[in-house]
Amino acid sequence: MTTSSPSLSRRTFLMTSAAGLAGATALSQSTRALAAEPIHYATWSAAVDHVKSHIAAFEAKTGIKVEYSNTPWAQFRETMVTKFVGNAPIDALWVSDSWLPEWADAGWLAPIDQYETLTAYNADVDEFCLQSMTYKGKLYGLTYYTDYMGFIYNAEILKKAGISTPPASWQEVTDQAKIIKDKGLSRYPMLVPMAQETWLIEFISAMVFSNGGRFTDDNDNAIMHDPSIGAVTTLRWLVDAVHKHKILSPSCVETGELAGMKSFSSGQHAFGLMPKYRLRTLNDPQQSQIAGHATLALMPKGDKGSHATVGWVRFYGMTPRAQANSTRLADTLKLIEWFGGKADGEYKFQKLMFKELGGGFGVKSLFQDPEMHTAYADYGDIDLIDKQRSLTRKKDVVTPWFGEWNDVNGSAWQQAILARVTPERALTASAAKWSALKKRA
C-alpha cells in the first residue's frame, strides 16, 4: 500500500512564503498606523508622580498615548534648547516666562491664539499671567504654576519688640528693624537672599516695583540707572541696610532662596522677602521653628511707590511640531487643556498641585473655591493673599537677551552691596550691558 503525501514544489514554497511575508508586513504596517503616535510631553522634574497619575487618567479617558520625559530644572533650558536644535520630538512642554521671547523668536514655540478650547480660559486667568505668557502680541500657553514675591514677617519677634503692626513702607522696615536689632531680638532682622541664582531678579524686581521703579521702559530701553524712575533707590536701600544700618547681613550675597527660607524658618529674622508659597513651609511645625508666626504683609512701598510686587509664571506651551499634523495637534490641545484647563469639568490638576505641594495657581475662580479657601486658611489670610495677587506685575526685563543680561546685572548688584562700586555705577554698568545686548539683537 502506498500513500501519497502532498507534494510541495520549491516554487510553490517560495511563492507562499513571499505572500505570507508580504501579508505580515502589510498587517504590521496597518497596525502601526492604527496605533497613533504618542504625544511627546517634556517637563522639568517637579511633581513627577502627580504628573504621571494625571497623564494616566488622561490616557484612560482619551486613549491618547503620552510619552512623558522630565529633566532637572537646573538643566531644563539647556536641555530643551539642545533638543529643539536637534529636532527631537516634543509636542507639549513646560515653559518659564523668562525663556518665552528666546524660544518664540527661535521658532520653537507655537502661539495658541487660534485655539478656542484653550483661549476660553483667558477670562479666568490673572492678568499678569496672561501678560507673562504673551510675546509680540501672541499668547503662548496656559498657566501651570504661578506665584509672586511676598513680604513675610515673624509676628512673634514683632510682638516681643512691642511693634503692633508690620511695616507698610521701606522706611518703616528700616525703623522697625533697628528697634528689633537694638533690643537684641535679631542680629540681622531683614532677609533678602541676593545670591547669583535664578531667583535674584525676582527679589530685586519686587523691591524695585514697590519703590515705583522699573528696569526698562515700554520700548525695552534701559532705565534702571535713572535716579528718578529706575532701580537706584532700591539698590541704595539695600546698601544702606548692609553697611549703614546693619540690619541686613553682608552674607546676603551668598544666600540663595532656599538657604534664606531655612534661615528665616529658624527664627533668625523678623522680615524677609520670599516666594509667597513658602508660607506653607514656614508655618509647618514639622519644617519650621516659627510655625504659626510667619505672616504675609503687603509689600512695603517706597516714597514714590505702591504695594506692587513681581510675579512669575510657568506654563504649558506647544511646539510647531504639534501643529504639523491635525491628529497630533488635536491630541496636544487636549493634553494641554487636561493639565492647564479643566479636566472632567474642574481645575483638577491645579487643585491637586496646591493641596499636595502648595503650588500657586493663576486661576481667579479658584480663589472663590471653598475647598481652596479652607486649604489656604491653614497658613495665611486668603484675602490679603488675594489682594497682593491683584497688585502683582510681570517682570519687565524678559527679552531674548534676558539671560545674558541677568548674569551681569546680578553681579553688578552684588558688587554694589559689597561696596566695591556705588549703586549708581553698578546700575549704569547694568544699563550699558542691556543697551549693548539690545543693539546686538
Partner: protein, 304 residues
C-alpha cells in the same frame, strides 16, 4: 655573506610586517574610538570657534574666521578672569607643593601608625570634587558653618564672619578647598620620588658631617626634581582649568570675585549658549595651558 643575510632577513621582515599588520588590526578599533571621542570633538570645537554660533539662533551662524578669538582677547573681563585664574593657580600650586612635600617627608619616616596615617591622608583624594565642594560650602557658611563655629568657640572671633560672601577672601578660600583635595596625590608622587633616592647618599653625607638641613637641600631636594616637575605640571593644569569648586561654592560670585576663565567658558557656552565664543575661549585656555606646561617641563628638564 650577503646571501646569508638575505636568507635571514627575508623571513624576519615577513614576520615583522605580519606582526605589524596584526597589531594594526587589533589597535584599529581603539584608534577609531579615540578618533571619534577625542580627536573629532577637538577638531570640531575648533571648527565651531570660527563661527558666530549661538544655539538660540542656529539658523544664523556666519563664518567669522578668528573674530571670536579677537572678541575674547579684547574683552577686559576676560583678562580680569585670567588674572584671577593666575592668582588662584599660584596660591593653590605653591601651597600644594609645600604641604605635599612636608607630608611626604613625614610619611617617609618610620613611626608607629604610619600606615594608618597614610590611609587617612588619602581620604580627601578619594572624595569626588562635587562632594568636596559641598562639604566646604557648609564649612564656610556664614550662618551655620563649622569654620565660624570653631573660631567662635576658640574665642578668635566675637561675631560670625562672612567668608565666601567677602570678595577679598573668596579666591583664597576656594584655593584652600582645592589644596585640601589635591595634597594627597601630590604627596604620594613626592613620596615615590623620595623612595628612589639611594640611602647610601645620606649615609655618605652623614660620614662627611652634613647636618639634616644640608642633607635636605643637597640630597633630598635635588633627588625630587623629577617628581616635583610632575606635581607642578599636573597641579598647574588642574588649577588653571578648575571649575567644580567655583560652580558649587560661589557660582562665580560674589559680584565677579571668582570669575575665572573656566567659569567664563561655562557661562558663555552653557548659559549664554554662545558656542562660538565658548569654543574660542576654550582653545585659548588649552593653548595657554599647553604652553605653560611646555615651559615648566623645559625649565625643569634642564636642571634634572
Amino acid at each position: 655573506m650577503n646571501a646569508t643575510a638575505s636568507r635571514v632577513d627575508g623571513p624576519l621582515r615577513t614576520n615583522r610586517s605580519y606582526d605589524e599588520r596584526t597589531a594594526f588590526i587589533f589597535l584599529a578599533p581603539l584608534a577609531a574610538v579615540l578618533l571619534a571621542v577625542a580627536a573629532f570633538p577637538i577638531l570640531y570645537s575648533f571648527y565651531i570657534s570660527l563661527y558666530n554660533l549661538k544655539l538660540t539662533r542656529p539658523q544664523r551662524a556666519p563664518f567669522v574666521w578668528f573674530d571670536n578669538y579677537v572678541a575674547v582677547l579684547s574683552d577686559p573681563q576676560f583678562w580680569e578672569a585670567v588674572e584671577r585664574t593666575v592668582a588662584f593657580s599660584v596660591m593653590g600650586v605653591v601651597a600644594i607643593a609645600i604641604i605635599a612635600l612636608l607630608v611626604a617627608l613625614l610619611l617617609n619616616e618610620e613611626f608607629p601608625g604610619r600606615r594608618v596615617l597614610s590611609a587617612v591622608l588619602l581620604i580627601p583624594w578619594a572624595i569626588p570634587y562635587v562632594a568636596n565642594a559641598l562639604m566646604w560650602k557648609s564649612i564656610y557658611d556664614s550662618n551655620y558653618g563649622a569654620l565660624n563655629g570653631a573660631l567662635y568657640q576658640l574665642d578668635f572671633i566675637n561675631n560670625y564672619m562672612v567668608w565666601l560672601g567677602d570678595s577679598r577672601k573668596t579666591l583664597a578660600l576656594i584655593a584652600n578647598a582645592f589644596v585640601w583635595k589635591e595634597v594627597p596625590l601630590a604627596a604620594i608622587l613626592l613620596l615615590v620620588g623620595l623612595k628612589t633616592i639611594p640611602a647610601d647618599l645620606y649615609a655618605a653625607a652623614k660620614v662627611d658631617g652634613a647636618n639634616m638641613i644640608q642633607r635636605f637641600f643637597h640630597i633630598t631636594l635635588p633627588g625630587l626634581k623629577g617628581s616635583f616637575a610632575l606635581v607642578m605640571i599636573y597641579e598647574t593644569m588642574m588649577a588653571i582649568r578648575h571649575f567644580d569648586l567655583f560652580f558649587v561654592l560661589t557660582e562665580g560670585g560674589p559680584g565677579d570675585a571668582s570669575h575665572v576663565v573656566a567659569w567664563r567658558i561655562y557661562v558663555e557656552t552653557f548659559r549664554n549658549l554662545s558656542f562660538g565664543i565658548g569654543a574660542a575661549m576654550s582653545y585659548i585656555l588649552a593653548l595657554a595651558t599647553l604652553a605653560l606646561s611646555y615651559l615648566v617641563i623645559r625649565a625643569l628638564a634642564q636642571r634634572i
